[in-house]
């Protein structure tokens, strides 16, 4: 009776040795396959069918909504193109059935907007004439690509603002599962905050779901009751923002601009935008040049911090934005050793910069983060 949905979304990722072996990760986040696959044959826009498989409802105002916007961008860019989508696909054998159904319907390209692992892989293997993409995926095929965002950079930037706006230095985080998306989020957020508040800590509560407004609200309340004064999290909706607004505290969100739910509490959001990526890949598919790509969309090219909230002081915004500009213009990375894990072990040696792959697969908490490990 445990819902499969809660295990479903984007966060699942495997750093399989097999997967890593064939890949080269470039500094821009682009991963290329070891051998070049032959491009799929061109299709006329009017005859093409593009399918999207979502983990949540498109009305979530968050992750799935953002991907749905991408589908609409594709429709606008290629008049006459046909699209189809299924919402709330469970992370179970039913996912396989739905992806197979897309193929049966004649889809030329299928985007899974979350990590469906084997359930997508098995279908892609049997449908070589269809182009597949898996968000946050890992197993490549000649017709299966992966894409995700480098959300840790804007998260670090937002963390600077959060640290500056937290009188107590106690940050709270509403987590889904202990998965890399969450680790990289908590760690980057706290590292940003510590640049202005060296004693800052971050407390996590996992609610075992990606979309459960009630549980998220309860977790937010519990964190505030524990003395936290800035909340962050990885929820698909605005539950804990409203809690922060009601209690006069602050919050940083994910996915989209949610300031209308808590105008005073709103600091910023890690907003995503897949429109350009989708339009580009569908275009390549139509013209007959598509081979799978393995991409981590950079800050400014698919992920960014949202415009600062009304209550963020100008000097705080300026301080955070200075780091953001440095990242975007100079390729600055704050993820440099020495970094210790929550148990005090040195995980990144002094002076060593974490690679994008390490950031993508981050699976341990840094010192100061509690509630995720064990």
């Amino acid at each position: 009776m445990i819902s499969t949905k809660e295990l479903s979304r984007r966060g699942f990722l495997n750093m399989g040795a097999a997967a890593g072996a064939g890949l080269v990760l470039s500094q821009t986040g682009l991963i290329r396959p070891a051998h070049a696959a032959a491009p799929l044959a061109p299709v006329k826009a009017e005859e093409a069918l593009i399918a999207f498989g979502h983990t949540g409802p498109t009305s979530d105002e968050g992750w799935t909504w953002a991907h749905d916007q991408g589908m609409k961008a594709v429709e606008a860019a290629f008049p006459g193109i046909k699209t189809t989508y299924v919402e709330s696909i469970p992370y179970s054998a039913d996912a396989t059935r739905i992806f197979r159904q897309f193929v049966s319907q004649g889809a030329n390209m299928v985007f899974a907007t979350s990590n469906y692992g084997d359930f997508l892989y098995d279908v892609a293997k049997r449908a070589p004439k269809v182009g597949f993409y898996e968000c946050d995926g890992r197993n490549p095929l000649d017709n299966l690509g992966t894409y995700y965002v480098q959300h840790w950079y804007p998260t670090y930037v937002a963390g600077i603002a959060a640290g500056a706006m937290s009188p107590t230095g106690k940050l709270g985080y509403v987590a889904s599962f202990p998965v890399p998306s969450v680790y990289s989020g908590t760690n980057a957020f706290l590292m940003g905050a510590r640049t202005v508040n060296p004693n800052a800590t971050l407390q996590c509560i996992s609610i075992n779901s990606w979309f459960d407004p009630q549980a998220a609200t309860q977790a937010g309340t519990a964190l505030l009751d524990n003395g936290c004064d800035v909340l962050f999290g990885i929820m698909d909706e605005a539950g804990y923002l409203q809690v922060a607004q009601d209690r006069g505290k602050k919050a940083v969100m994910w996915n989209t601009d949610l300031r209308r739910y808590g105008p005073d509490a709103y600091i910023s959001s890690i907003v995503v935008n897949f429109n350009d990526f989708y339009v580009k890949q569908v275009g390549r598919r139509l013209e007959g040049s598509w081979t799978p790509t393995y991409e981590l969309l950079p800050m400014g090219g698919g992920v960014d911090r949202d415009a600062w909230g009304a209550t963020v002081p100008a000097e705080v915004a300026a301080k955070a934005d200075a780091v953001r500009t440095k990242m975007m213009t100079e390729g600055y990375s704050p993820f440099v050793g020495e970094i210790k894990d929550a148990k005090g072990n040195i995980k990144v040696a002094k002076g060593q910069t974490m690679t994008e792959q390490e950031l993508y697969h981050w699976n341990w908490s840094i010192e100061g983060v509690s509630g995720l490990d064990g």
Binding site: M1, I2, N14, T84, Y91, S92, S104, D118
Partner: protein, 353 residues
């Protein structure tokens, strides 16, 4: 002047009940069609698409078979229990446990598939039987209703599977996919992606039908299930049969879980039971607990569930599909009741003669 009225019969004739069943399915579909039409969709188009997608392609047939297989096992599990008057609401949990045990064997015991697969099946059945053991003993020795106990065990099983899949057995090669690693062995395919779980399930249904209909044991179970007092009077070991039947019921559900994890999903994950245990109750009830009937009702449920998946790209939600399955059960219950009536015409009241 004459009036029509319903008259209750002492028993429904088999032909009438069968037609009532068919009519109830048709009525449920018609009702669903009307609802769809009201939301601006063309139910005939959707129906045609379900049929062509299900039966018109090998993809569709394979998908159907993969949905049919677990329902066959859970339906049989519940039906077996019903033969001795037991409502095994816990097929869901036993299915989970079977998958859990089978995955454990596959993950941690190296060996040739020819050895490991049968061991997985045995362990899956043992785990399913183990999961119904406490409800069985409680029912057999303390007359505690199995309805509640088997149901409660489901929650424990679901939590256990989720815990091991996201915790201790989490894919060791990676870190985040909330499942175990892919099992190193799998149930071989018979056709396309359809694995041996299907023919084994069909054989099991036939074996059970033979056991219930053509063995002394089956006769005793029938008597014991219908009237335990009568069985005791005849000196039949009612309690022993009750225990055996319940454990067999659990074992069948466990075997279903083993086939699902080793044949279809290939990894243990939370929610692997996918409500198959609960839908199995519906399958068994529609089949009137007849093992061969389960083959047909499980297939019917598979067509409906698969139809739901086919229709999702058309904007139909899983909830709608579940509503249709609920409608079928609802109409079937009404149909069963009506099969016990016949329509008669009253003559003019005699008193006015």
């Amino acid at each position: 002047m004459s009036t029509w009225r319903l008259q209750r019969l002492p028993a429904a004739s088999p032909l009438v009940s069968l037609s009532a069943r068919l009519i109830s399915v048709v009525l449920a579909l018609v009702t669903a069609g009307i609802i769809l039409a009201a939301t601006g969709k063309n139910p005939l188009d959707l129906g045609a698409q379900v049929i062509s997608s299900t039966f018109g392609s090998s993809f569709g047939m394979a998908d159907l078979a993969l949905l049919f297989t677990p329902l066959l096992y859970t339906g049989l599990a519940v039906a077996v229990g019903l033969r001795i008057g037991v409502w095994n609401i816990g097929a869901e949990g036993q299915f989970n446990l079977g998958a859990f045990a089978a995955a454990g064997v596959a993950l941690f015991l190296p060996g040739p598939p020819a050895l490991i697969l049968p061991l997985m099946a045995v362990m899956g059945m043992a785990a399913g039987a183990l999961w119904i053991l406490i409800p069985t003993l409680a029912r057999a020795y303390a007359d505690v209703s199995e309805l509640i106990t088997t149901l409660l065990m489901n929650f424990v099983a679901a939590l256990l599977v989720t815990y091991v899949a996201t915790g201790p057995w989490l894919d060791p090669s990676g870190m985040a996919l909330a499942t175990t690693a892919r099992l190193p062995v799998e149930v071989p395919a018979v056709w396309d992606i359809v694995h041996w779980g299907l023919p084994v399930g069909l054989i099991l249904a036939v074996l059970l039908a033979v056991a219930f209909g053509f063995t002394r044991w089956g006769y005793e179970v029938r008597i014991g299930g219908s009237n335990p007092g009568n069985a005791r009077y005849a000196g039949m070991p009612v309690r022993r049969h009750l225990i055996t039947v319940m454990l067999v019921s659990g074992a069948i559900a466990g075997l279903g879980g083993m086939m699902e994890v080793a044949g279809t999903v290939h990894r243990l994950q939370g929610g692997i039971s996918n409500n198959f245990g609960y839908i199995g109750i519906m399958v068994a009830v529609l089949a009137r607990a007849a093992p061969l009937g389960v083959i047909f009702t499980a297939l019917l449920m598979a067509v409906i569930l698969n139809g739901g998946i086919i229709l999702q790209p058309q904007g139909l939600t899983t909830q709608t599909v579940l509503a249709v399955t609920g409608l079928i059960l609802f109409y079937a219950a009404i149909g069963d009741e009506f099969a016990r009536y016949r329509l008669i015409r009253n003559a003019k009241p005699a008193g006015t003669r």
